[in-house]
């Protein structure tokens, strides 16, 4: 194997799967299953259908292992198979899901409260009228407390599905922007706008909660 391919570790894992390593397979399933179910659920009508899509995806993954070339990460490749299955299934169900209903209709909204900036016609228009709170004074134990993390979890639960999934994959699971784009079949621009909106809401909720301490 060529160790210089970017996804050498994934190719090694694929070899173990092809050799029938059940533990390696189940560890992979455990890591990806909850995101896979959420992603499938975006495109189909019920949780049961989403579960069928995920099961069909795993079979497709196993049957296609020989075609995985390591040109993308394994998890990206798996999600591409999944979104294809789920979208096709959704279409067959006669369920067409407009992008806006997944992505949210607030993608053009400003990340920051417009009243934080000086208005047109004022001197220094577009610059801060009141400076953001300086969070650097917030103690680490407060910033990472269960309550603060609960605020973020609450925002995550309230986001439109595609904003939530991009935020989860990027900032909770640590995927790269390219992986997320490929996995969810998003354009570069859409991936970044979705992430920007989702992060803006997290930041705003945290500021409302922590701002008085800053």
């Amino acid at each position: 194997m060529d160790d210089n391919t970017p996804y050498a570790a994934d190719l090694a894992l694929v070899e173990r799967l092809r050799a029938g390593d059940e533990d390696a397979f189940m560890a992979l399933v455990e890591r990806l299953q909850s995101s896979m179910l959420r992603v499938a659920r975006m495109f189909v009508s019920t949780q049961a259908v989403a579960e069928e899509c995920v099961q069909e995806c795993w079979l497709g993954v196993l049957q296609g292992l020989g075609t995985f070339e390591g040109r993308s990460s394994l998890r990206t490749w798996i999600f591409r198979i999944l979104t294809n299955i789920a979208k096709t299934r959704g279409q067959r169900e006669g369920r067409s899901v407009p992008f806006a209903s997944l992505a949210g209709d607030d993608l053009d909204a400003p990340a920051w409260d417009p009243s934080s900036f000086k208005g047109e016609g004022e001197p220094w228009a577009g610059h801060w009228s009141s400076l953001p709170h300086d969070w650097r004074g917030i103690p680490e134990e407060r910033l990472l407390s269960a309550e603060t993390r609960g605020i973020v979890a609450g925002v995550l639960a309230s986001l439109p599905p595609m904003q939530a999934e991009v935020l989860r994959l990027r900032d909770v699971a640590g995927w790269t922007s390219q992986e997320v784009r490929n996995a969810l079949d998003l354009t570069e621009t859409n991936q970044r706008v979705l992430l920007h909106r989702a992060r803006a809401k997290v930041r705003r909720a945290l500021d409302a909660y922590l701002g008085d301490d800053a």
Partner: protein, 84 residues
């Protein structure tokens, strides 16, 4: 506050791209210059970084083990069929 031609209102919309290294070099240099002189935008960038860090401490919900058994079944059927 600065006299450059990019406003703070515009800067805050670019911070996700900025952190992703997705801003082309000339614009990035302009943004760096703005941030170097603007306490407000520096605080905004710091807030965004901290928001990302707190989000990163959340954990993926785990699917119950028995819900994974059908997938194990898929694997075993595939393995016996493939003769692996």
């Amino acid at each position: 506050m600065t006299t450059d031609d990019i406003t703070c209102r515009e800067v805050v919309e670019l911070l996700t791209d900025y952190l992703d290294g997705a801003i082309p070099p000339p614009d990035r240099a302009r943004l760096d210059a703005h941030l170097a002189r603007c306490d407000g935008c520096t605080a905004a960038l710091d807030q965004l970084r901290e928001a990302i860090r707190v989000t990163g401490t959340l954990t993926e919900e785990q699917v119950a083990q028995d819900a994974l058994e059908p997938i194990r079944g898929v694997f075993r059927a595939w393995r016996s069929e493939a003769g692996a």
